[in-house]
Each structure stands twice: as structure tokens, then as C-alpha cells.
């Protein structure tokens, strides 16, 4: 167990604002009963413990978001394909600036070209994105982009900056969006008390209030809004492009792989990038930004691997696309 439920909480803490960051801070102070740390936690330094506590909250939000995307789209469960995706993704992440984070990869059963980075390291790539890649280097660059979002905590930090009111409004908006669809209503996530016990337990710990599971759930819903509609700030997207390309280059891949992936998207697949362009800067601008980075990295001198052979073998075993 991570922690025990608190017995009481000071009034000033309950009223001390509801941004996610304050919920986190308040939680650590309002518990009268100390949590029972696991043996691994006991070995951590105070700085590591603080980082670890924050990571646990981030992970719970990300878990919830990833679970919704997986629930909505469905997943491709081919063990070999997943093994390959995780191998390439983890390998690229090991060349990133945040190798002590955890990165986990899964495939969404959808033919659009998109990928999602949820807080806590849950990275979801559509089957369409895998099909669109011409080689392993392109896949590595795409995964590098998502790894950078996670490592730099782009979404989690954005959520922490949101006030509780905004988070709840975003969650309400999401709920209203599906009211007209009876199928989606059937599949709608449960109310907070019936939802993730871990999330509710965590939020109870954080806020010192029973039944406060809404906070984590609402934060996840707000995160979904950001992930699927609003998008992150475009500067963060450019940063993820830059970092992702750098990680893939460090890992040994061809420097121009991301540019070729994006260029092909722009030329051939306008329909398939509808959702991608809703939340990302225009592809042309992204290509230009990456091009500028490559100049500074002396990319023209870099001999990179394409991973063509490995990718071709994996591609032969891709599941057939479902009929539209």
C-alpha cells in the first residue's frame, strides 16, 4: 500500500485553493497517519521521495487517460508487434534526457495517423501511424516526440496550472458532448464513486476528504480535452519535435526521418490527419522548425540507421485494416 486514509484535515487546507498542485502539497501535510512506505521508498533521498510522490499522482491521471483512449478505440494485442514497439520506444527513450521515467507503449485500433502521450509515461500510437511509417527511423522519431512530451511533463504541468474550476468545467463539457449519442452513453465512464478505486484512494489521500475522487477523474477528463481537442501550446509541440528528433538521432537513427514522415502525411493523407491537426501546429511549420534544428546538429554529416529490414519484417505481420 502507498498510504493510509487520513483521519482529519485542517480547515485552512480544505479551503486552500484547488489547483492540482495545491492538492498535492496539501495532501502531504494533512495526513495525521503517516503512510506506510514500501522498502524501496525507504531507500529514497528526500528529493527522490518528493519526485516519487508527484510521479504517483501523475501516473494515476495518465492511467485514467490512457484507459479511456484504450476503451474508446480498442487495442491491438499482437504480442510481437507490441514487443517491437516497446523495444524501439524504450530504446529511443534511453537516449532522452529523462531516462529514469517509465515509458510504456500500446497500439490503438484505429487507422487515422495519431499518437498520444499521457502523463506518467503511457504512450498510445494508432495503427494508422504505424502503417504510415516507412521505416523504423520514422517510427523512432514519432515515439521520440511522445517521449519528449512525457519526459518534459508537458501535459501534467499544464494540468497543474489549471484551477479546479477550469478542470471541472472541462470535465462537464466532455460529459455534455456525448449526451446525444446513446452508444457512447452506454459506454460512458462511471461517476467518481464507482470509478478507479486507486484514483479515489489517491485523491482521498491528497485532499484529506472522502469521496474526493473527482479531482483525479476530473483532471484526467480535462487532460483528455487537452489531448483530443484543445491541444498543448504550439511551442510545446515544437519542443517535443525538437527533443524527439534529438533523441532519435542520438539513438542512431536517420536525422531526416521525422521530416519525411510529416511530409508524406501532408502530401497524401489529409483525411487521416484531421484529428492530428486539431491539436498540433501545421505540418509545414513543424517541418520547417525541425529543418532548422538539423542545421544546428550538423545533420548533413550524420550517417543514421533506417532500420528498414527490421521494419519490413514487422510490417509483414501488421493486422489487416478493418473495412471502413
Amino acid at each position: 500500500m502507498w498510504f493510509g486514509p487520513p483521519k482529519s484535515c485542517h480547515a485552512w487546507q480544505a479551503a486552500a485553493g484547488f489547483s492540482l498542485s495545491l492538492l498535492l502539497g496539501g495532501s502531504l501535510a494533512c495526513t495525521n497517519k503517516a503512510p506506510q512506505p514500501d522498502p524501496l521508498e525507504q531507500k529514497l533521498t528526500p528529493e527522490q521521495k518528493a519526485a516519487f510522490e508527484d510521479y504517483k499522482v501523475e501516473m494515476e491521471v495518465g492511467r485514467n487517460m490512457a484507459g479511456r483512449l484504450l476503451g474508446y478505440y480498442g487495442s491491438i494485442d499482437d504480442a510481437k508487434l507490441l514487443g517491437y514497439l516497446n523495444q524501439v520506444g524504450s530504446y529511443v527513450a534511453s537516449y532522452g534526457d529523462y531516462p529514469d521515467r517509465r515509458y510504456m507503449f500500446a497500439i490503438l485500433k484505429h487507422e487515422s495517423v495519431n499518437a498520444f502521450a499521457c502523463p506518467g509515461g503511457y504512450i498510445l500510437v494508432t495503427m494508422g501511424a504505424l502503417r504510415h511509417a516507412n521505416n523504423e527511423a520514422e517510427l523512432a522519431a514519432v515515439l521520440g516526440h511522445e517521449v519528449a512530451h512525457v519526459g518534459k511533463r508537458h501535459m501534467y504541468d499544464a494540468l497543474k496550472k489549471m484551477k479546479q474550476k477550469d478542470i471541472e468545467e472541462a470535465a462537464l463539457k466532455k460529459r455534455q458532448a456525448t449526451e446525444s449519442d446513446p452508444i457512447l452513453q452506454l459506454r460512458q465512464r462511471p461517476e467518481p464513486l464507482d470509478s478507479s478505486a486507486a484514483g479515489a484512494r489517491l485523491a482521498t489521500y491528497l485532499t484529506g476528504k472522502a469521496g474526493a475522487g473527482l479531482s483525479i477523474m476530473a483532471a484526467a477528463a480535462a487532460g483528455m480535452n487537452m489531448l483530443t481537442e484543445k491541444g498543448l501550446d504550439k511551442e510545446l509541440e515544437y519542443e517535443a519535435d525538437h527533443e524527439g528528433v534529438k533523441y532519435a538521432i542520438r539513438a542512431g537513427y536517420e536525422p531526416r526521418a521525422m521530416i519525411s514522415f510529416l511530409k508524406r502525411l501532408e502530401e497524401n493523407n489529409a483525411k487521416k490527419v484531421k484529428n492530428l491537426e486539431k491539436t498540433h501546429p501545421p505540418i509545414k511549420d513543424r517541418r520547417e522548425q525541425i529543418g532548422k534544428l538539423l542545421l544546428t546538429l550538423k545533420a548533413e554529416d550524420i550517417i543514421g540507421a533506417s532500420g528498414d529490414e527490421r521494419f519490413k519484417k514487422v510490417k509483414l505481420k501488421f493486422p489487416k485494416p478493418e473495412a471502413a
Partner: protein, 176 residues
């Protein structure tokens, strides 16, 4: 109590401000690895490294890593003669891996699994609005499957070897 709260917040804030970005190292694969003054093997040799010797690595520049030796000498080493090693915080990595098991919902997500199995997964066309995913019951079982597939160091090393083998084979014809 307020002081504890403040300290905890400061600790988290300090960690966030630092961004937890870590440096990396490279390890010489053989004796006599040359550290060049610039990112070209035509520049002066600053020093050499012994097999297994590790130096701090910075960014890649062309086919070289920028490095700083333990003696403080800066230079560049070819990516083909060293092994890149990330400086992950081992203690934190273990704790994070442990946390992913501990934080699971009671019942291991079986309820969510059952529900989605009954309803099936609806086929989605390109016209579907992904925003609707926000109101779907999380499929925790699928998330746990993600968490249960860690990639071993060995697997990553194997891939790295194949990648640098490909690079070496591409680089070989152009070397004098």
C-alpha cells in the same frame, strides 16, 4: 504543519524546476579511443580513452558525441567507438516500477474488462470524434497490460547493436 507543507512543496518545486534532466555518459569500446578537439577526425587529438573508460557526454554533433573527460578536457568522440549510457536514477526507477503495481485498482480492472467485453469495441471510422473518448470508462486491464511489458536492458542493447552495425556498414565505404 504549514512548515512541513511548505518544505514538501519546495522540494517538489525544486525537482520540477530542475526538470530532472540527467546527463549521459559514453564508454570507450576499445583502447586508444581518440578524443578530438572538434567534431571531425581531422582535428587534433586532445586525449585518448582506455577500453571501459567512461566520460560525460553532451549532444551529438554529426557522427560525434561531445564529451568532457574526468580531467575536464572537452572534445568529441566518434559514435562508432563508444557505447552511450544514460544516467538514470536507479533508486527512483525501481520505486517507479514498484509504484505501477501498487497503484492498481482493486479487482485488477476485471470489472472494466468485463464491461468492455460485453459491449465490444465499436469500429470507428475517420469521421468519429475522438473527443468522445473522454467519456469512456477507462479500460484499466489494457493499461495494466502496458505496465506489465517492461523492456529488458538486453533487448535494448540488442537493438542498439543492430543500429550501430547498420551505421558502421554505411560509413565503411566512405572511410579512407
Amino acid at each position: 504543519m504549514k512548515k512541513i507543507l511548505m518544505n514538501q512543496c519546495l522540494a517538489v518545486a525544486a525537482w520540477l524546476a530542475a526538470g530532472s534532466a540527467l546527463a549521459a555518459h559514453v564508454e570507450a569500446k576499445k583502447d586508444g579511443v581518440e578524443v578530438f578537439a572538434d567534431a571531425t577526425n581531422k582535428s587534433a587529438v586532445v586525449t585518448t580513452l582506455k577500453a571501459g573508460e567512461t566520460v560525460a557526454a553532451g549532444e551529438r554533433k554529426g557522427m560525434f558525441w561531445s564529451v568532457t573527460t574526468t580531467a575536464g578536457k572537452a572534445g568529441f568522440v566518434s559514435v562508432l567507438v563508444v557505447k552511450h549510457k544514460p544516467d538514470a536514477d536507479g533508486g527512483l526507477v525501481k520505486a517507479i516500477n514498484f509504484a505501477s503495481k501498487e497503484g492498481r485498482a482493486e479487482g485488477d480492472g476485471t470489472d472494466a474488462r468485463t464491461r468492455s467485453a460485453v459491449m465490444g469495441v465499436r469500429g470507428l471510422s475517420d469521421d468519429d470524434n475522438v473527443a468522445n473518448a473522454a467519456n469512456i470508462r477507462p479500460n484499466l486491464r489494457a493499461v495494466y497490460r502496458m505496465e506489465d511489458k517492461p523492456v529488458t536492458e538486453k533487448k535494448m542493447e540488442q537493438l542498439g547493436q543492430q543500429i550501430f552495425k547498420e551505421i558502421a556498414s554505411k560509413a565503411a565505404p566512405s572511410e579512407d
